[in-house]
């Protein structure tokens, strides 16, 4: 599955949807890293995520770590309840910068 990327106000907005698991997390990882490697600030829209497993979370963690070491913005926006539960249980809500909506993310500067 290809995850769509949109260019909005200088951010690459990557939308992850449905089930993000071992089958498609390599695609998520690739699209996230490719945009960061193009020196783009990245917002990952998780509003349509119904399920995310640890491999999907690892893709986000890797994006975050890459962004941090390259002075790039990396935030999660509109995180669905299913994804939020996973992040909250693992206390990853302390690790990621999370915005309630895409608009907030765009204003928050990634």
């Amino acid at each position: 599955m290809a995850f769509p990327v949109e260019d909005k106000h200088g951010f690459s907005v990557i939308t992850l949807k449905g089930e993000v698991d071992l089958k498609n997390s390599p695609d998520a990882r690739k699209v996230i890293l490719n945009n960061l490697k193009k020196r783009r600030h990245v917002l990952v829209d998780l509003s349509g995520v119904e399920y995310i497993d640890s491999s999907g979370v690892a893709s986000l963690v890797e994006g975050l770590q890459y962004a941090r070491s390259n002075d790039l913005g990396f935030s999660l926006v509109g995180v669905s309840e299913a994804a939020m539960n996973v992040l909250r249980l693992a206390r990853l809500d302390q690790v990621f910068r999370i915005y309630a909506s895409l608009e907030d993310g765009l204003h928050g500067g990634g």
């Binding site: 071992l22 997390s25 990882r29 497993d53 640890s54 491999s55 979370v57 690892a58 893709s59 986000l60 963690v61 890797e62 994006g63 975050l64 770590q65 249980l89 693992a90 206390r91 990853l92 302390q94 690790v95």
Partner: protein, 568 residues
């Protein structure tokens, strides 16, 4: 500098000079009102041409009933049309001298052209056309190629490719080399030289067919030329099967000839070549019989079959190699699985208060658990889950498990231990991989538990019939943030049990959705009467498939406040 040749821009001035005397004879022959004596006089005007004309006309190939010894006799015996054709053949043969295209063996071109002429002549009966006219059309139809080579001698090096190509391939190659084709150039030349209409059409339209408005006889001549092209190709091209097949199809479609008849005509072509060459004063090599060509085609077919067999054999070899490689890989995985299993303590070991269970979805797992007794009698335990699955997760699992066992024996504070493990794992973690882990120390003497969780699912503290408490993580997983702060939960087990588990258990798909934490609590309650090892097995069995398979790695650890009977 080479002339620019394209279909649209071949100018008459680019073309070789026309053989003027011959053209004059050809035009006189086409004049229906001309007197035979005048015609004979015009012919006799060119003594060299006359001598050659008489030689050709008297040859066995053209087979006149009686010998002709003068121009006037030739005009009478041959008739103006046959005379015209012979003059054309001779003059076109000589229009470009052997040395006019440097480095080009013009004889090879003429041998090919002659074979087309002989082939076309062999079709005269089927087409009900004049044999000499067919011969002339066949001889002239590809003359445009010679003209292109004359205009662009630099392309002569490609002659070998052109010579062995099928008629279709030859045209494609011509477009690449000259940006035009021999039929286009032939049409320009025939029009410029004012050659007779039927021959102009045959030269210009033997590939694409003449305009619909053309005379039926002229259309037929174009068809003869098209068939002759493929008949000659049978003796010229590398892949003889293709040409034989095309010749058979074309002769059947155009003249209703059977395959046998086409083969018979092809054989005749081969047999007539030497005689025709002698008549035309051309040098040709030794001619292959059609039988020999057919044998060659069949041999090629056999070779192709052979290469198919070889291909098949190679495929079998590759498959065998793949299977061997897969076996080796399976063996390696089995070894890895054994090593990994050895890192886990047995389900119910010598310690009476702890049981563990680990089921893997693949050969190797990213989950692990461990427990061991500390020197002061307390029991250290842990359960962890590495993000992702497969070999990379298994390797990180091995590292985390070793660190826990090694460092845990000296550091009895779970939060401090996790903090240290976090820094160690962060240093070498790649691809965003992380480890969620619960580490704890249980004192069987007092029932006190000290527990710390790094991003792991909530630990359940269950009494016999109900949930007493749950302990969610207060810090993120190991390997993400090197400065992560970990804290301990300290509480009393009160004769209850602790349940530590991975997502393979609570996220397992059942008929009515995933098990979830609440489902697990219900399940524990239902089996609480069982001894801990059986209870662990019963909990796992609830989400296992009939064959025992699990969708995801599943790990469960039970820490029991009350001592297990019969253990220790």
């Amino acid at each position: 500098m080479e002339a620019t040749v394209t279909g649209e821009t071949v100018r008459p001035s680019d073309l070789p000079a026309p053989p003027k005397d011959a053209i004059r004879i050809v035009q006189a022959c086409s004049n229906p009102g001309i007197d035979s004596r005048d015609l004979a006089r015009i012919v006799a005007n060119d003594p060299v041409l006359t001598a050659e004309l008489l030689r050709v006309a008297n040859s066995a190939y053209f087979g006149l009933v009686s010998q002709v010894k003068s121009a006037s006799r030739a005009v009478t015996i041959l008739g103006s049309r046959a005379l015209r054709n012979l003059v054309l053949c001779i003059s076109m043969r000589d229009a470009l001298r052997a040395d006019s295209i440097p480095g080009f063996d013009i004889d090879t071109y003429w041998e090919d052209a002659l074979r087309r002429a002989v082939s076309a002549r062999s079709l005269a009966g089927l087409a009900q056309l004049d044999a000499d006219e067919c011969f002339t059309a066949g001889l002239l139809q590809d003359f445009g190629l010679l003209v292109m080579l004359y205009l662009m001698p630099g392309r002569v090096e490609h002659w070998s490719d052109l010579a062995h190509a099928t008629p279709e391939e030859r045209r494609d190659l011509e477009i690449e080399l000259f940006s035009t084709t021999h039929d286009e150039v032939g049409l320009t030349l025939a029009t410029s030289w004012d050659l007779p209409t039927e021959l102009t059409l045959a030269m210009g339209y033997h590939h694409e067919g003449p305009p619909e408005s053309s005379e039926p006889q002229d259309i037929l001549l174009c068809k003869v030329a098209a068939c002759a092209d493929w008949m000659a190709a049978v003796y010229r091209c590398e892949d003889k099967r293709v040409s034989i097949q095309r010749a058979r199809v074309l002769l059947k479609d155009n003249f209703g000839a059977s395959a046998e008849h086409t083969d018979f005509l092809l054989q005749q072509v081969s047999e007539s070549m030497t005689e025709a060459a002698s008549a035309m004063g051309m040098r040709v090599g030794e001619q292959k019989s059609f039988d020999a060509v057919l044998r060659e085609a069949n041999l090629r077919l056999a070779e192709d079959n052979l290469s198919y067999q070889e291909l098949n054999w190679r495929l079998q070899q590759a498959l065998a190699e793949r299977d061997k490689f897969a076996d080796e890989l399976r063996y390696e995985l089995e070894l890895a699985r054994e090593v990994q299993k050895s890192l886990l303590p047995p389900c119910a070991g010598s310690l009476s208060n702890v049981v563990g269970l680990n089921l893997t979805a693949k050969a190797v797992s990213g989950d692990f658990y461990d427990y061991y007794q500390l020197v002061d009698g307390r029991i250290a335990f842990c359960l962890a889950d590495v993000s992702g699955k497969g070999m990379n997760a298994a390797l990180l699992m091995a590292k985390a498990a070793s660190l826990f066992r090694c460092l845990g024996k000296g550091i009895h504070d779970p939060a401090k231990l996790l903090s240290m493990l976090n820094r160690e794992i962060f240093e070498t973690s790649i691809r965003g991989m992380f480890v969620t882990m619960v580490a704890g120390v249980f004192d069987p003497a007092t029932g006190e538990v000290m527990l710390s969780s790094a991003g792991h699912l909530p630990v359940l503290h269950m009494g016999c019939a109900a949930l007493i408490a749950e302990y969610p993580a207060k810090a993120p997983p190991l390997g993400i943030n090197p400065d992560g702060v970990f804290t301990n939960e300290v509480f009393h087990l009160q004769g209850g049990c602790l349940y530590l588990y991975t997502d393979g258990l609570v996220e397992a798909r059942l008929d009515d959705g995933r098990l979830e934490k609440d489902g697990l609590i219900r399940l524990v309650r239902d089996v609480s009467h069982l001894p801990a090892p059986e209870r662990a097995a019963a909990i796992a069995a609830a989400v296992q498939a009939r064959d025992g398979a699990v969708e995801d790695d599943l790990t469960l650890v039970i820490v029991e406040g009350r001592q297990r009977h019969g253990a220790g």
